[in-house]
């Protein structure tokens, strides 16, 4: 992906690094590491990374608690306009955030463009519906069990779709997924077991009945659904965060940066691409199952390909390659049409234009991803060099260790592969 071919000699002076950094402004949606911070969000993210772990927790826990209380608080101005139930809006935001985090694995980490993400969402929804709704002829299982089943089924479909396409260049994946997004809808219409337009009523929900005899997880009761989704989202964030830092995550980033180089360095690119695609599909399926349960009704009209483009817009807007960015982007895409009903009708147009403008003017998104991995690779490379070529030979090593505020980290030279091979 990267425009620079092959490893380059390490920059020796910091000023040279800075030039490099400013040249690289807005190259990739992912590689914004080289972008000089201009305060605002970027400054925040730097300060965040400088904090010790304990201090991060100290801030994070209240944020999470606040997030859990969100549907209960009806903050004036922030709350949605009359006619749009606020807890349900929170649930929609959480679902979109979940979807964006999943899609971010595919687009942000592995650099694969999945334009039919709604298809996996649909597969998940249909799995949940067909296994719980009384309208379906299949065996019935409790709703909560459908979530793992939905994940498995959508991952399977993802692998099925990924195997033929992922061996090829990324563009083919884009068009195949785009087509698949539409095909799922047509199949849902054609295959009688999927019931087309009548669809499935009374999709199951988690157990529990309130004191008034109404189920806790009623379709119109957004708050418990939001809590469930948020809980899943938080667990998912831990998993994705760990994966990002693991060998798999490094392989994804290497693939995104330069697939040929990654392959040459011994990264089994095809395998890791299929993994990214399948995991993304699994998260999409899970979000679909949650959505199906909450809405309680699944039919073929709900899964428009255009919604897929909204998902892509969510990831790209937030800052592809960044979990927090994905959450913010996803939540915004769901929130804006509900908050400003006057423009809801134009949402597709607005997000479409936003997509083009972001790509032209700020490809790294609202909250750019910080490429700690690339920075780390450079540091490791510098350290190794320093050891073998005598002390003090490498001022840029110190420039790198500073991280945060001053260290502008890493020309995309030695690539994470260097360190991927050693671990």
């Amino acid at each position: 992906m990267s425009m620079t071919e092959g490893p380059r000699p390490l920059r020796t002076s910091k000023s040279e690094q800075q030039t490099e950094a400013s040249e690289a402004v807005g190259r990739l949606p992912g590689t914004s590491a080289d972008v000089p911070r201009r305060g605002g969000m970027g400054g925040w993210s730097d300060r965040w990374r400088e904090m010790p772990r304990q201090k991060q927790w100290l801030i994070l826990i209240p944020v999470v608690i606040l997030a859990f209380f969100l549907p209960l608080m009806n903050i004036p101005f922030i709350t949605t306009e009359p006619g749009n139930d606020w807890p349900l809006a929170c649930q929609a935001m959480a679902i979109f955030a979940l979807v964006a985090v999943g899609l971010n694995i595919v687009i942000g980490y592995a650099g694969l463009l999945d334009l039919g993400y709604i298809a996996f969402f649909a597969v998940g929804s249909y799995t949940a519906a067909m296994l719980t709704s009384p309208d379906s002829a299949f065996i019935k299982i409790p709703y909560l069990w459908t979530i793992p089943v939905a994940i498995a089924v959508s991952m399977f479909v993802g692998v099925l779709l990924g195997l033929p396409t992922l061996r090829l260049r990324g563009d083919y994946l884009a068009i195949v997924t785009l087509g698949f997004g539409e095909i799922v809808r047509i199949l849902a219409t054609l295959i009688p077991a999927m019931k087309g337009q009548p669809g499935f009523q009374n999709v199951g929900h988690p157990p529990g009945t309130g004191p008034d005899g109404i189920p806790v997880f009623a379709n119109s009761n957004g708050t418990p659904w939001y809590w469930l989704t948020l809980g899943i989202l938080i667990v998912l964030l831990f998993l994705v965060g760990n994966m990002e830092r693991s060998r798999v995550g490094r392989a994804w980033i290497a693939i995104r940066e330069d697939e040929d180089a990654a392959e040459t360095m011994g990264v089994p690119t095809f395998k890791y691409k299929v993994w990214a695609f399948a995991l993304g599909a699994g998260v999409g399926g899970m979000a679909g199952a949650l959505m199906g349960g909450q809405v309680g009704f699944v039919n073929n009209q709900k899964f428009d390909v255009v919604t897929s483009i909204l998902f892509v817009a969510a990831v790209v807007m937030g800052g592809s390659g960044n979990k927090v960015g994905a959450i913010v982007g996803g939540a915004l895409v769901a929130y804006i049409p509900l908050r400003f009903t006057a423009i809801a009708e134009y949402k597709f147009l607005i997000f479409g234009i936003a997509l083009i403008l972001i790509m032209i003017y700020r490809p790294q998104g609202l909250i750019p991803a910080k490429q700690r991995l690339l920075a780390y690779g450079t540091k490791a490379y510098a350290a190794v060099r320093a050891r073998f070529s005598g002390k003090g030979a490498n001022p840029s090593g110190t420039g790198g260790t500073g991280t945060g505020g001053t260290g502008k980290s890493a020309p995309p030279a030695p690539k994470p592969n260097a360190e991927g091979a050693t671990s």
Binding site: M1, S2, M3, G26, R27, L28, P29, I107, G111, L113, L115, A137, F138, V157, L160, L161, L163, P164, T165, R167, L168, G170, D171, Y172, A174, I175, V176, L178, G179, F180, E182, I183, I186, L187, T189, L190, I191, P192, A193, M194, V305, V306, I309, V312, A313, V316, Y346, F348, L349, F351, G352, I353, A354, L355, I356, M359, I360, P363
Partner: protein, 335 residues
């Protein structure tokens, strides 16, 4: 995937049939109709192929270039007084009217392609953006145009127009060939041949092939890359405009804001089938896809299967022969 669902499904009516008898019975009419649709796919596919050959970019917005051509055709013909019933005009007058519609359609499509290139892709090229950024911009542009049309014309398809009275001309293999089929196939093939000649013989065509082969070297040799890229987009637009006329002729109810979407995917599948970047491949792929889609539709017993079949063809081609049937790229095609 389908067989498992089929096995699990309750015994139900014939949603999917393997009706070989019907296929054998309608074989020739399906063939002629398939070739007609195939010619339309081929014309649109050429737009994908040329841009892909030169820029290595799937121009997702090409489907919108095409549908705006359809709107150009539709508005012209409505303005000229065409309606749902066949016009009461002489052959000469109809030809003049259709030519006018063709020209307006071509202008609409070519202009869209031109603006698209200037406004969306050129800024990216200027700063050497990576492929992912191009692709996302392309889909964003497609989406934006689609919803601009939606806001302008709403979700309901435009009123169907009949351009001339469809009647059989002669009989082959016991099946009539209709005047619209003959017109579309002949016109499309003539256009494709002209484009083929243009690309292999003319100076501009040589420039296109040079840029497709190696943009930097081509620039060093004095080829104006920017001009070539613009020309490529405009040629794609012109062919899409022509396809728009034939499409409106064949599927009068197809002029709707998202009408280009599925056709675009089919055209792309056709381009891949023939070998993307290959001009002759686009023609071959288009015709083949038209045939396969039509046979599949009759065999499986529902017109919606055409889209599914086209998609399966795309996936199978990518699985077994990703370089397509003819497989050469635009740059390597012989002079």
């Amino acid at each position: 995937m389908i067989p498992t669902i089929l096995a699990a499904a309750p015994p139900s009516s014939d949603w999917i049939t393997l009706d070989f008898a019907s296929l054998a019975q309608n074989f020739w009419s399906a063939t002629f109709d398939g070739l007609t649709f195939g010619s339309i796919y081929a014309l649109v596919a050429l737009g994908y192929t040329l841009v892909y050959g030169v820029l290595n970019l799937i121009n997702f917005a090409h489907s919108e270039v095409f549908i705006l051509g359809c709107y150009g055709v539709w508005f012209t013909l409505s303005f000229l007084g065409f309606g749902p019933s066949a016009p009461n005009l002489g052959v000469g007058a109809i030809v003049v009217n259709l030519l006018l519609a063709l020209i307006i359609g071509i202008i609409a499509s070519a202009l869209t392609a031109f603006l698209l290139e200037r406004l969306a892709y050129k800024p990216l090229r200027k700063r050497n953006a990576p492929r992912l950024v191009f692709l996302i911009t392309a889909i964003g542009a497609s989406f934006t145009i689609q919803y601009l049309i939606f806001l302008w014309r709403g979700p309901v398809p435009e009123q169907a127009l009949t351009m001339f009275k469809v009647k059989p001309i002669f009989e082959v293999f016991g099946t009539y060939i209709y005047n619209d089929q003959l017109l579309i196939v002949t016109a499309a093939i003539i256009m494709m041949v002209i484009i083929e000649r243009f690309i292999s013989k003319s100076r501009t065509g040589r420039g296109i092939r040079a840029v497709a082969q190696d943009p930097d070297t081509a620039t060093l040799m004095g080829v104006n890359k920017e001009k070539i890229i613009i020309t490529t987009f405009v040629i794609g637009g012109i062919l899409a405009g022509a396809a728009a006329l034939f499409y409106t002729m064949k599927i009068p109810s197809g002029v709707v804001y998202n009408g280009g979407f599925i056709l675009g995917i089919k055209a792309f599948a056709a381009a891949v089938l023939g070998g993307i970047g290959n001009v002759r491949g686009a023609l071959l792929g288009g015709l083949l896809l038209g045939l396969i889609g039509n046979y599949g539709q009759i065999l499986l017993g529902n017109s919606q299967w055409t889209d599914v079949v086209a998609f399966l063809v795309l996936v199978l081609v990518l699985l077994f022969r990703p370089e397509g049937i003819l497989g050469t790229s635009l740059g390597r095609s012989k002079a």
